[in-house]
């Protein structure tokens, strides 16, 4: 199951500057593990204590995964996964 993952500027140090990379998996958690195998350090920027970091938004196609199971969200062949840093503060 190959998906395309869009990487935001702040994480491109882990992808050698690439804006988009491919990864495989049937859930978001598997996709992130696969990303980590090829682009070490990415997982720690996305996952904290077994769930998605609150500083990042992850979308499968156009859907925010917070509403579709978080790391357990299913992905299908050809899906687009988009990672964006949350814009937030106090």
């Amino acid at each position: 199951m190959a998906v395309t993952v869009s990487i935001p500027t702040i994480l491109r140090t882990h992808t050698g500057g690439e804006k988009s990379v491919s990864a495989s998996g049937t859930t978001l958690a598997e996709v992130i593990d696969d990303l980590e195998n090829n682009h070490g350090g990415l997982k720690a920027r996305l996952v904290k204590e077994g769930s998605l970091h609150r500083f990042v938004n992850v979308y499968v196609n156009d859907e925010d995964v917070r509403f579709s199971g978080g790391l357990a969200a299913e992905v299908k062949d050809g899906d687009n996964v988009t990672i964006l840093p949350a814009v937030a503060g106090g």
């Binding site: 938004n57 979308y59 949350a86 814009v87």
Partner: protein, 136 residues
Amino acid sequence: MLVIRRDLVDAMVAHARRDHPDEACGVIAGPYGSDRPERFIEMENAERSPTFYRFDAAEQLKVWREMDANDEVPVVIYHSHTATEAYPSRTDISFAGEPEAHYVLVSTRDPIEHELRSYRIVDGVVTEEPVKITES
């Protein structure tokens, strides 16, 4: 240094005043590589709070896609502080995820005089920068 048109400054201040006492937030997009803010985009503060802001995730995706399609980047990311000075809070610093953006803070704590300042926030380090306002 942030170089920005006066009408864009006025638009940020007006948005901050209108949403006071809740925090207002938004983006000013500009052509990639230009470092010039051009297109003003008010964002929804999904938190609707006087002490916190967060872009609505769905709206953010839509706006970021538009910028991508236009070859634009978020040159300015602004928000307001409604009871404190225009300086990044600890949460502002920990969330700052756009190292190439100018983070603009507008304080509306004084009902008449606003305060507007600009910063770079990179890897948890805040650097204030001068703001040069142009007429066109």
